[in-house]
Amino acid sequence: MIAGLRATTEGGADLVQLLTPEGERVHHPDFDIEVTPEELRGLYRDMVLIRRADREGNALQRQGQLGIWVPLLGQEAAQIGAGRAMKPHDMAFPSYREHGVAWCRGIDPTEILGIFRGTDHGSWDPLAARFHLYTIVIGNQCLNATGYAMGQRFQGKVGDDDGEATICFFGDGATSQGDVHEAMVWASVYDAPVVFYCQNNQWAISEPIERQTRVPLYQRASGYGFPGIRVDGNDVLACLAVSRWALDECRHGNGPVLIEAFTYRMDAHTTSDDPTRYRLSDELEAWKLKDPIERVRVHLVKQQWADQEFFDSVQADADELAARLRDFCVNMPTPGPERIFSEVYAQESPQVRAQRDEFLDYMAGFADAHAGGEH
């Protein structure tokens, strides 16, 4: 049970775990998984690289290159596990912290920067990547994901190994939103092939999980009539196994499924936030011992599945990614004012066109003034 004034570090007896914080491989009767050394090295690399990109995002904000950054520190396993469980034709609907899932969908971290630098609202093609644009209004995307999944079912794309599924990402705070409740109602009554993937990182900005719920979140699924599973969100193997199972359930027509990835937001809500005002550092210290990357590293070493050369090469790749991200960021062009007016409608609006033309003319007047030497 969740109780007390502070977010707990204990996931309870139902927590699905395959790799302990100490790097020990444990087995689970329902959600076991076999991974090759190569696969585990790949998951390790994913997590190290996206963490490095995330840290670079923070740094770029501190240096004034980004207006804001939304860190994923601590949630690498929850995101990489779910992201790598997806098949190419599955669809994802993210919140705004899912840089790790985006990575797994083949979206380069540079494509995310514009949102936080203020040059766009998301530059990737959501239909081609099968990764919707970031949704900032809390919980909205859960209904959109459910509708999309209903469409998958209506089109007969559900029912066998080749079936499609949708996965929707949201946080513990979002579970209080009516849209998340409605999404679960809709998904259950229409048998929608959607995995509700809640990353419970214990904090909704300053509000602890106790402010959102008095029952563990995964148990809410029973009220909607579908399975709810709590997984160790810092265990990439468990997240991969449970997500793969849940997506397969959906693609076979047995959805929806709720997954609560029990994890911790190791950094601030965003770079604008100051967690020292509302949580104690000993909580952070306790969660550091459950680090999602370190346990994989330990396991790889113990199993002799990776040597120092491997770890060094991953670190080199991570540093190269960070440098590339930085270089891209500082050189990002600011769009011209015509961008304000572009693609507001599918069929151009005469009103927006007139405002654009008038404004561009007005701006052009300043160019003339400068040309004439007047300031």
Partner: protein, 343 residues
């Protein structure tokens, strides 16, 4: 392959139905939805009680029986859910037509409409299209309880990314609902519920006007009267009455509230010099306020009188025993005409 458009009917006119018939607005909307469902398998109708019951106003009567439960969905009772899942279906390639049962019930879905439906095309820079139609029976005059008589169109007209239209008669209703379904932009489609049972001769073989165009319904040189939805009939009756006193009203049915098509209004005001706007909605920060602002800008030297408005009051909708006083009627329209002419 693109689905055929309204003007390329999959079902030949006259095939199994009479090309010209007398229909109510409810029937016209039903026929329009049926045609849209027949024409494009991606069209789905969804809302509360739209299936077996056929909608509380029977606009969707018989559609579920003929098109099945995956084309005509009785949804759970939550408006945000209706709009939010319709958006997801649209991202998947469907063309959902949502029914909001009454005007005052749209607000639980307002967040999805404003935050997602209106903004996805812009956010994605055209990569995502959300061709969702949100049908809303609106306006008063039916003696209903609270939340069943409102005119919330200005909230939507104020939101970039949405198109907002209002039909006023059965013929327009038949064509406009089909054109709205074909629009690649989201359309908030207002239906004047107190005119649902008005009848008109509908020729399903005719060529419709464009959706986003206003139309002069009656020509006259004395005063221009612009209106939409339920007020159109009122204003046409006012014009008949005024004509008996030798005052010729030019009545414009706006039809599209966003984008506005003010060309016919401006042309008319340049001739008459006078404009009266009629709407059931409260006047403050409303569609009529927007039109007044633009007309004074475009017709400044032509105006012989200030633009006058006949609207609902800036109050919540009253208990229904008082709605006759609240709603603009023929006499209030004529009173405004008289005041305009007195300048």
């Amino acid at each position: 392959m693109a689905a055929p458009t309204v003007n390329e009917r999959a079902v030949a006119p006259g095939e199994g139905r009479t090309p010209v018939q007398t229909v109510t607005m409810v029937k016209a909307l039903n026929m329009g939805l049926r045609a849209a469902l027949e024409r494009d398998p991606k069209v789905v109708v969804m809302g509360e009680d739209v299936g077996k019951l056929g909608g509380v106003f029977r606009v969707t009567d018989g559609l579920q029986k003929d098109f099945g439960e995956q084309r005509v969905l009785d949804t759970p009772l939550a408006e945000s859910g209706i709009i939010g899942t319709a958006i997801g279906l649209a991202i998947r390639g469907f063309r959902p037509v949502c029914e909001i049962q009454f005007d005052g019930f749209v607000f639980p879905g307002f967040d999805q409409i404003v935050s997602q439906l209106a903004k996805l095309h812009f956010r994605s820079q055209g990569r995502i299209k959300v061709p969702v139609v949100v049908r809303i029976p609106f306006g008063g005059g039916i003696g209903a309880v609270e939340h069943h008589s409102e005119s919330p169109e200005s909230y939507f007209a104020h939101t970039a990314g949405l198109r907002v239209v209002a039909c006023s008669n059965p013929v327009d209703a038949y064509w406009m609902i089909q054109q709205a379904v074909e629009s690649d932009d989201p359309v908030i489609f207002f239906e004047p519920k107190r005119r649902y049972y008005e009848k008109a001769q509908l020729d399903t073989t005719a060529t419709p006007d464009p959706l986003f165009a206003s139309r002069v319904l009656r020509q006259g040189g004395s005063v221009t009267v612009a209106c939409y939805g339920p007020m159109v009939k009122t204003c046409l009756e006012a014009a008949t009455a005024a004509a008996e006193d030798g005052v010729e009203l030019e009545v414009v049915d706006l039809r599209t509230l966003s984008p506005l098509d003010l060309g016919p209004v401006i042309d008319s005001v340049r001739r008459t010099g006078r404009l009266v706007l009629a709407s059931e909605a409260p006047s403050e920060s409303s569609v009529t306020a927007e039109i007044a602002a633009r007309v004074q800008q475009e017709c400044f030297y032509s105006l012989e009188a200030p633009v006058l408005r006949v609207t609902g009051f800036d109050t919540p909708y009253p208990p229904s025993k008082l709605e006759e006083e609240f709603l603009p009627d023929l006499d209030r329209v004529l009173h405004a005409v008289d005041r305009s002419l007195a300048f």
